[in-house]
């Protein structure tokens, strides 16, 4: 075995360079620092990297390890920003104070205000007379950033009877003028191409670019798969017990979307069975990126057509991501049974090994569910059952995420970004499972007061 005794070479971790420069700046940065004096994780991610290092302008600072010249450059940039950072810290303290005064509790203050504080520091320097007013105004502005893009606004918009009947007619028209259903062969062909792409995902190495990803988009493989769902095509997975739609609809084929007038997170139907209201409700519920949304009237107008499009999505790259996700979901094996699933790819190996790691952590944390069905198992048995049909939870989450991108006009440009979404959804499904087990056990070991449901995204 080679021995590595070199003094770490000349290159040093970028985060270490930032840490050392940060600690050299002296006092006044506590609001942006952790208990040990290191910058907070979010300080690095939201301020130091994007606003001071700016690797977009200085690609030499984009690496995880920096050579001495780059390290010196970064150190210098941070030192030059000392006054700006101290002012940023003071503004942050002021904003948190204003937030408490105004009784605002939603959202993480670092996420909401860090970059705004840096802007304030750039514009005004340290807070002076009148800064309190600026801080209050900013907290209010951020709190009301949705600008009417709220569930209540949606409810009001859809309460109008004339509007509802017009939307209903539009939905009927759009549904009637869909392209014809496709056959199972089209879906099978799309899935075969998806398997090839998934074999290039999840493997270590430089970010992958694949010409066949754009090939799938150009060939309309996502649209074809969506149209195959309209035909109740069967047998595409080559095994029993796995519906073609993987739980995207609770019926044989997706129904024509209705307008709808209410929704609740606990009782949302399968994605393609959702009403217009329910589809937009999930978009408006998630607080992230709300300011990027179109006004409610426009959201509704566009959702009418989208809900009748294949897979309920407009953008073909997002539909292709559904095909990739479906092919991945069909081979998920959270319980490590290794039972007959369609051919596993590199992506499956990556996600399934993550599941095994999670299962082991859950055993070490005493958060297990019985691997075999247990009629006495109650809610825990239901959670185990979800692990036996993991594709349903996976596709549900994936669809919501892709739909959110579609609404924001955010296609997936390349295979690497598509894989980041597919992998992220797999992690979310695991997190969900753990949170549910935790909550179920808390309820079981509490006499009264059932535990609050975990927040769901």
């Amino acid at each position: 075995m080679p021995s590595s005794s070199q003094p770490t070479g000349e290159r040093r971790p970028r985060v270490l360079v930032i840490d050392h420069a940060w600690r050299g700046l002296g006092p006044g940065l506590e609001p942006l620092s952790g208990p040990g004096g290191a910058p907070l994780t979010r300080t690095v991610k939201l301020i130091v990297l994007p606003l001071i290092a700016r690797p977009a302008l200085r690609p030499e600072l984009a690496a995880d390890f920096l050579a001495p010249a780059e390290a010196a450059l970064l150190t210098g940039l941070i030192q030059e920003s000392a006054a700006l950072l101290t002012a940023t810290a003071q503004w942050f303290t002021l904003l948190k104070k204003a937030r408490r005064t105004l009784g605002v509790v939603a959202g993480n203050p670092q996420d909401l205000y860090f970059q705004r504080c840096f802007e304030l520091a750039t514009e005004h320097g340290t807070p002076r007379a009148g800064a309190d007013m600026i801080a209050r105004a900013l907290v209010e502005e951020v709190a009301h950033a949705p600008g009417g893009r709220t569930v209540d606004a949606l409810k009001d918009h859809l309460a109008d009877a004339a509007r509802r009947s017009r939307l209903d007619a539009e939905l009927a028209d759009a549904w009637a003028s869909r392209p014809p259903p496709a056959d199972a062969a089209a879906a099978t062909a799309a899935l075969a191409r998806a398997a090839e792409l998934l074999d290039a995902c999840g493997v270590p190495g430089p970010a992958h670019t694949s010409p066949s990803y754009s090939g799938m988009i150009e060939a309309g493989n996502g649209e074809l798969f969506g149209r195959a769902l309209w035909a109740h095509a069967s047998g595409v997975w080559g095994r029993d017990g796995l519906p073609t739609h993987l739980g995207l609809t609770g019926r044989q084929t997706p129904p024509r979307p209705e307008v709808g007038r209410g929704a609740s997170t606990a009782t949302l139907p399968a994605p393609l069975d959702r009403t217009l209201f329910e589809r937009l409700f999930t978009v408006l519920q998630s607080s992230a990126h709300r300011e990027e949304l179109a006004p409610v009237a426009e959201l509704v107008a566009r959702e009418t057509g989208r809900s009748c499009a294949p897979l309920g999505l407009y953008d073909e790259s997002l539909r292709v991501a559904v095909v990739l996700g479906g092919r991945l979901a069909a081979g998920l094996d959270p319980l490590g049974t290794g039972e007959g699933t369609p051919g596993r790819t590199a992506a499956h190996r990556a996600v399934n090994s993550r599941w095994r790691r999670e299962a082991s952590v859950l055993r070490a944390r005493r958060l297990t569910v019985s691997p075999h069905p247990d009629p006495d198992g109650g809610v825990l048995d239901a959670l185990a059952q979800d692990l036996r049909t993991p594709w349903a939870a996976y596709m549900r989450r994936l669809w919501v995420r892709l739909h959110g991108r579609d609404v924001r006009d955010a296609p997936l440009e390349d295979l690497a970004s598509a894989w980041a979404v597919l992998d992220g959804v797999a992690r979310s499904v695991m997190m969900d499972h753990r949170a549910r087990v935790r909550s179920a056990l808390r309820t079981l070991s509490a006499d009264h007061a059932p535990a609050a449901e975990p927040r769901s995204a």
Binding site: P7, P13, P109, R357, S360, G424, S445
Partner: protein
Amino acid sequence: MAPGHVDVHVARGPDGTIRIAAGPGPRPIEVHDGVVHVGPDFTRAVLDVAGAVLTWPVLDAPGLPWAEVHDVGRAQQWVWALYGERVAAAVHDSAAGRGGVRVTAEATALAGAAARLGLGHWAARWWPASYQDGIPVLEPSLLGLELAALTHRCQQLFDDEGDQPDDCAAELIEEHLAALDPLIQWWRATAGSVDMARRLETVLRLIDDAADNAGLDGPALRHLRSSLEGRGPAAASADPGALFARRGGYALAAGEPLVTGGRVIARGSGINDWRRYPPGLVDAAESAVSWTARALGARRRIEVEALADPAAPATGTPLVAEVHVNGGAPHRVSLARRDDLWTGHSDLSPDPQAGVSAPRIEVGVLLPGFDPGPGAPGDADVRAGRDAVRALVRRRLAVARRPPAYDTPPHDNCSAPFLAETAATATDEDY
């Protein structure tokens, strides 16, 4: 943890995972399913951090964790701070495909704090509270608040990708908010003991800072803020035993014994496998589960008793005993709470041998739906593991009974008692 240097081995596995292996420790360590195994599940402390899972064998001397790094880019934010710069460079090289290397790590303050956080999460799930063994319960909300403080202390280990369930300082504070006022009272009443007061203040300041960072607000947190700023009424005397007194208490088996008549054929102890039910239900003593087989005419009946954890809920938990007679198929007996016991009985199916000789009976308790199954056949070390865990917590409680005195800040030191341990030793004189 004493500052020092220790060799670790860094290598890339076939699936691209990078393993940072501390040790070799004194006990055999296997890796399967991409996770380090060091014996039964209840002997591993684990922590989900950005891009990796950290594992410590709790029975070994405190030290550096094993890391299974599945996202090198994210992990690089903390590898240097936890293991030192050489290890960060070795991880970087391994990710680029270079072979395994042995490098010298530094035992950092962050490593000490992370080990303590991992051990605290372990204690929250596996602490073997037992009336019979004299191991007191740890007050969950006191431990929860200290874990919130430690999580914030270890903020460098976490990022905002949202896939690290242990990045939960805000959730822990909200969940255990009710314990905040008693904790403040304890701090104010501890002026006489400088070390103890400093320990309490450190935890309170970290909680205040974590809450402020996460944007939490409310009366309890405002009270904390003003207390730390030195406002508020003078300290009344308060001892942690009274402040964190547990509901209920330890009165053993006050009810009548379960007498159902008949002739006793056999009696014995069952197996108390902690892995088969969640914490807080059954007394962790080795002999907590017992059974009696009776003959009532031609019928054969089995009665099972399990000592209840003092905090166990009185109703609504469908705990069962699993009974094997003469190696046959498992038979379930529902258990119900009766005072400090879980009890249940059931007729055994007629057994041709039952009249001939005493039946061979094995009994375990489990929670249906939770039970991962009886241990694998190679689990012979499980009982030894339980004994070792009891020995570990007895050593820790002995330390907690002594007045605190530390060379290193307690928050970076795994061996220093948790506040919940200190409070538990103040309480346990009472029963």
